[in-house]
């Protein structure tokens, strides 16, 4: 087990990167603490796998340092870093049996036979691989292959960390859920640092204590699932986390607040000062669909909207509303009446977030 620290790390696949767009990972620093269960969440191509390969040592970063427990390991091979990694597509040694596959990393480390047997059987039991334990790995199903692939990472209990690169992509949904629970159990049992790469927010929030959201080669937010949901500090996090994502509306500055179309939103004095100081014209207001209050009668702080679409998702409804010519989505409970052609919405002040240049302006900064 180790604390993994990334220090001003950047990576480009081209030899002479011309600009920021040539970087798969833009300069950033980050710490994965000892024994944590983390998820690295982001869309395809945002640099998640690149970062994982840099941590494991399959890839040497073009700039910056990787530190394990404050020791620089840039030049160490994965072997010497003692790190386990599970790949998106299962890699199995098909000339060996399942048992030999699982025992392979332990045998390579020269562990005694008796210990290997105990450990392999323990992991095989957790992953429910016992029925095929002495079969050749060649004839396994895709699910079983991925379990073997994962098992090879899990048998090593002395590793610095286990990295998972979208390990459940090829596995069917029901088993997916089960395996995720298993991983969580294994984490609780052995307390190994785990980093789990995924593009599925549900997967991330069920597995991890803390989620790092990656976008455009950088970690834009690192926090608990709740923090990511309640105060996304980048518009991308707002949009990517949650279903549907955060409503984002471009606004313009005005005395004492911001305005879009006919709607004026008053802001505190300090926030206004802050906007003034930054002087950027890229201002956005964001609010989660869950926090929008929808009623059928008008009051002082409501805005009238035309109902464009109602999606009934069983336990809740997603209402698509037109506020002027802006599209706003709201999530309302199943029993709320949404039959009317127009509805009235209110934006509770505490859930209304202001973004300048795509980054959240913290309320505490006021």
């Amino acid at each position: 087990m180790a604390e993994i620290q990334l220090k001003s790390l950047a990576h480009s696949y081209s030899k002479n990167p011309a600009g920021p767009e040539d970087y798969a990972i833009r300069q950033m620093s980050h710490v994965w603490h000892k024994g944590g269960a983390y998820a690295l969440l982001g869309p395809s191509g945002c640099g998640k796998s690149t970062m994982l390969n840099i941590i494991s040592g399959l890839l040497a970063p073009s700039e910056g340092d990787v530190l394990f427990d404050n020791v620089r390991v840039n030049e160490l091979s994965p072997k010497d870093r003692n790190i386990a990694q599970v790949f998106q597509f299962p890699v199995i040694y098909d000339s060996m049996t399942v048992y030999d596959n699982l025992a392979f990393p332990l045998r390579n480390a020269g562990q005694p036979k008796a210990k290997i047997k105990v450990k392999v059987e323990e992991i095989a039991a957790i992953l429910e691989l016992e029925p095929v334990l002495h079969k050749k790995a060649k004839g396994l199903t895709a699910d079983e292959k991925q379990k073997v692939s994962m098992g090879r990472g899990l048998v090593r209990d002395d590793v610095s960390a286990i990295l998972f690169d979208e390990p459940l992509t090829v596995i069917d949904p029901q088993l997916k859920w089960k395996l995720r629970r298993k991983l969580k159990q294994i984490h609780e049992q052995f307390n190994i640092t785990m980093v789990y790469v995924t593009h599925d927010q549900l997967e991330a929030s069920t597995f991890a204590d803390k989620i790092a959201v990656m976008y455009g080669g950088q970690i834009v937010q690192f926090g608990t699932p709740r923090e990511l949901f309640e105060s996304p500090n980048h518009t991308f996090v707002g949009y990517f986390i949650g279903s549907p994502g955060m409503n984002l509306v471009e606004v313009s500055r005005e005395d004492g607040g911001v305005r879009f179309d006919d709607t004026f939103v008053p802001l505190s004095e300090t926030l206004c000062d802050h906007i003034e100081r930054v002087g950027s014209s890229n201002l956005k207001l964001g609010i989660r669909p869950e926090f929008i209050q929808v009623t059928d009668h008008a009051s002082d702080d409501t805005h009238e909207c035309a109902v464009r679409d109602v999606e009934d998702l069983g336990t809740y409804k997603i209402v698509t509303l037109m506020l002027g010519d802006r599209v706003i989505k709201a999530r309302v409970s199943e029993d709320q009446d949404t039959e009317a052609a127009t509805l009235h919405v209110a934006f509770p002040r505490q859930w209304l977030k202001l973004y300048i240049d795509e980054y959240l302006v913290e309320e505490q900064a006021e």
């Binding site: 494991s56 399959l58 091979s77 994965p78 072997k79 003692n82 790190i83 386990a84 990694q85 790949f87 597509f89 890699v91 040694y93 098909d94 000339s95 060996m96 049996t97 392979f104 990393p105 045998r107 390579n108 480390a109 079969k135 050749k136 692939s149 090879r152 990472g153």
Partner: protein, 288 residues
């Protein structure tokens, strides 16, 4: 659906049948026909049954050259297969150096058999050949025309030089077909180079190795030109292999019946051993 049986469709198979008949069946049957007769000249042939087979199988000449042949093919496989794998593992994988290596390796394969024999005949001479002269200068008493051991070593060395590249090229292509993910996984699993070779590379080379072993066995078992040019089968009959014995019998002595029986036995041995190799290697897999 009703299928209409139309036996005229069989005519479509006729071209293949004719082709195979002329290329394989008729010549083979002619040999079978010769092997059971004693032919003195046109019009005077006598049916002798299995007499030729019994005589050939019992003859010292066949048994000796058969023994030599197995020894030679065994040595060829024992040297060339591991050496070929080794060369393939050491070759660069990308870039100009890889192309250069491939070209250098392919050169011996492009040289005609009798030219290979001639090259080594001159190369090994003690007076003007670099190899023979060099060995003699180093104080070794090397002469492939008079010493059985030297003759054997030279023939073996020549074959290794000529054909190891084939094994190496086959293995090289097999190694390139292994996805990078396996090496990454092995690295993560802390596999030593030996473990990577033993558990990842070797199992995935199996199919090309089956081809390499079969090709090298058949070719070396039927070797004729190179030792014939190099040593003429000598000294004595120490490097006289099966095909040369057969040629001497069929052409030199014009003993058609005996040569035909010999050919059939020869053919059956090659077939049998190739089948054994193939079955053994492909069955290794299904043991578990």
């Amino acid at each position: 659906m009703n299928k209409i049986a139309d036996n005229r469709a069989w005519w479509l198979v006729l071209p293949v049948f004719i082709l195979v008949a002329f290329s394989a069946l008729i010549p083979l049957m002619t040999v079978v026909n010769y092997s059971v007769q004693d032919i003195f000249g046109p019009g005077s042939a006598y049916f002798v049954g299995t007499e030729w087979f019994e005589e050939v199988l019992g003859s010292d000449r066949l048994q000796d050259s058969l023994g030599r042949q197995f020894l030679f093919s065994g040595a060829v496989l024992a040297i060339q297969i591991p050496l070929g794998i080794g060369i393939a593992l050491m070759m660069p994988t990308t870039g100009k150096r890889a192309s250069l290596c491939l070209i250098l390796l392919a050169i011996p394969l492009l040289i005609p058999w009798n030219v290979v024999g001639t090259i080594w005949q001159i190369f090994g001479r003690g007076d003007i050949g670099l190899f023979g002269w060099g060995l003699n200068q180093l104080g070794m008493d090397y002469n492939y025309t008079s010493s059985t051991v030297d003759a054997w070593l030279t023939v073996l060395l020549m074959d290794v030089w000529h054909w190891t590249p084939l094994v190496a090229l086959l293995c090289y292509s097999g190694l390139r077909a292994i996805p990078e993910a396996f090496y990454q996984a092995a690295e993560i699993d802390r596999a030593s180079n030996w473990a990577i070779f033993r558990y990842i590379q070797l199992p995935r080379l199996k199919s090309v190795l089956v081809i390499a072993v079969l090709l090298r066995f058949m070719d070396s078992f039927m070797i004729y030109t190179e030792p014939f040019v190099l040593t003429g089968g000598g000294p004595g009959s120490s490097t006289t292999f099966l095909s040369q014995t057969l040629t001497t019998m069929a052409i030199g002595q014009f003993d058609i019946g005996r040569a035909a029986a010999f050919s059939l036995i020869y053919f059956l041995i090659v077939l049998l051993v190739s089948w054994l190799f193939f079955t053994a290697i492909t069955h290794l897999d299904r043991q578990k």
